[in-house]
Subunit: 317 residues, 2 copies
Amino acid sequence: MPHAEPPSPPGAVRRVAVIGAGTIGASWAACFLSRGLEVVVSDPSPDAESAVGRMIDAAWPVLQRLGAAPGADPTRWRFEPDPARAVEGAGFVQESAPERYAVKQALLPRLDAALPPEVVIASSSSGLLASRLGDGCRHPGRVLIGHPFNPPHLIPLVEIVGGDPAARQAALAFYRAVGKHPILLNKEVPGHLANRLQAALWREAAWLVDQGVASVADVDAAISEGPGLRWAIMGPHLTFHLAGGRGGMEHFLSHLGPALESWWADLSTPAHITPAMAEALTRGVAEEAAGRDIETLEARRDRLLAGLLALRRDDPG
Amino acid sequence: MPHAEPPSPPGAVRRVAVIGAGTIGASWAACFLSRGLEVVVSDPSPDAESAVGRMIDAAWPVLQRLGAAPGADPTRWRFEPDPARAVEGAGFVQESAPERYAVKQALLPRLDAALPPEVVIASSSSGLLASRLGDGCRHPGRVLIGHPFNPPHLIPLVEIVGGDPAARQAALAFYRAVGKHPILLNKEVPGHLANRLQAALWREAAWLVDQGVASVADVDAAISEGPGLRWAIMGPHLTFHLAGGRGGMEHFLSHLGPALESWWADLSTPAHITPAMAEALTRGVAEEAAGRDIETLEARRDRLLAGLLALRRDDPG
């Protein structure tokens, strides 16, 4: 039986336009639908519509398990190839077009021209600068980065960069209303926060493999069997706060700060992924995967991610 | 009713000596007891015995839930202040004395002199070099580092550094038998693997806070709501392997390597935790904790850690 009442929308937004429907865009569409929103998807590729449908169907069971809005409907979306028409009537726009200034700077002014000035246009960009994305728009202040993390329908993090204060606050409220965990960057830096932090950790990890200190599988286990378990529960600062015992962060810094500084001093700073490093990493990962293909590993990851998110949701806090 | 048969021990080891019984030593004792081993605990402090008893009692419910050996008995331990007597009859020694060469280099030769040469002496040291810990021992090759991760009764990682090949293999087999995930370092480097990787990530995290890019809470969320969730499931290399899609790590490196290199080039390399940085971190963590005390945060962490470990154990893989 179809629902008589439309599901209650998050905030004032009832319809979202998802512009660019590769893996990221399709995943966003599934996320928004699960929160009871209506979605219009646009993409220049003729194959995008069916691919989005498959993605939504695949993601739906886990989104329901993690808490779909009452009355959320996985069919409440339509495809519109023309991006300017797709954004008509949208209360929020999530753009996930290819990662090139030329592509986005041609696309975003068309969306901007078709929308009332208060509607936020959020770009999923991981690598471009927020300050350049509004070029050519009449209302560049409503253009900001809302960068998700793969897979976006499961990972809560959204990094908000750029935009004027009103747009930032509107994006913050919108992402919270759809169940995400948005964070605000006060300055733009390459890689935003999460990719920078990943890059910092991985630079050292790749160097340790390259120098023969340990195998790829053992370096991976040094995270997934150790600090990675804690980082799924709290970030590095709160982790160190607990390591300080009753004295918390202050005691931690005075007591263990010198050890951390001595490790900082010894960290590597390779500038490039050399061919030898790439070869060692590729061979090492193949050994670690031990015949399990990407689909098998991905299914395990998403199964455990869903379980982990449900565990955190149900914890008394 | 007491069990009629002794529980089956892991490998040939039936009794473990835990030398040094602060938080780490007591946590090791609880871990070994839960796997059906007999434990002798030694510490120079007169308060250690009762503290160890409290720690075992506190840890026992979660250890049972995560899979205690049949017949494992939380009372199957005794306290022996003299370390040389404590190791008598032990099949494995885990030393967790204070982190100073002077302390360990006085202690380890006494244990070495009291033990047959094939028994491994593993030190929990995070900061000392394995190659120096055997100084003064008749059998320095059986001395190695077996570094756990806090809290050791929950976190599977154990980093093995140093020792001769036979001792390394024996330690690997022993830690696996007690349910740990040991990894082997082929060379000794300051901080072993996990603390180096933590230090690399945290150096950038602290710098981002120091530069006002984001709050402590938002930098923490950039991990715990993002990559931290994935790192509880797989390490950074396998994560990137999946990010490469069907082409795996090789495709990832050729496609996203340049972006990672550009982020590497922009990473910070502060040498010191300045007073201003320490103040920003301490204040920011207090804001993030929002009135929750260390005990509350620790209880949540351990509850979620136990849930997460149970989730991974029960996954079909």
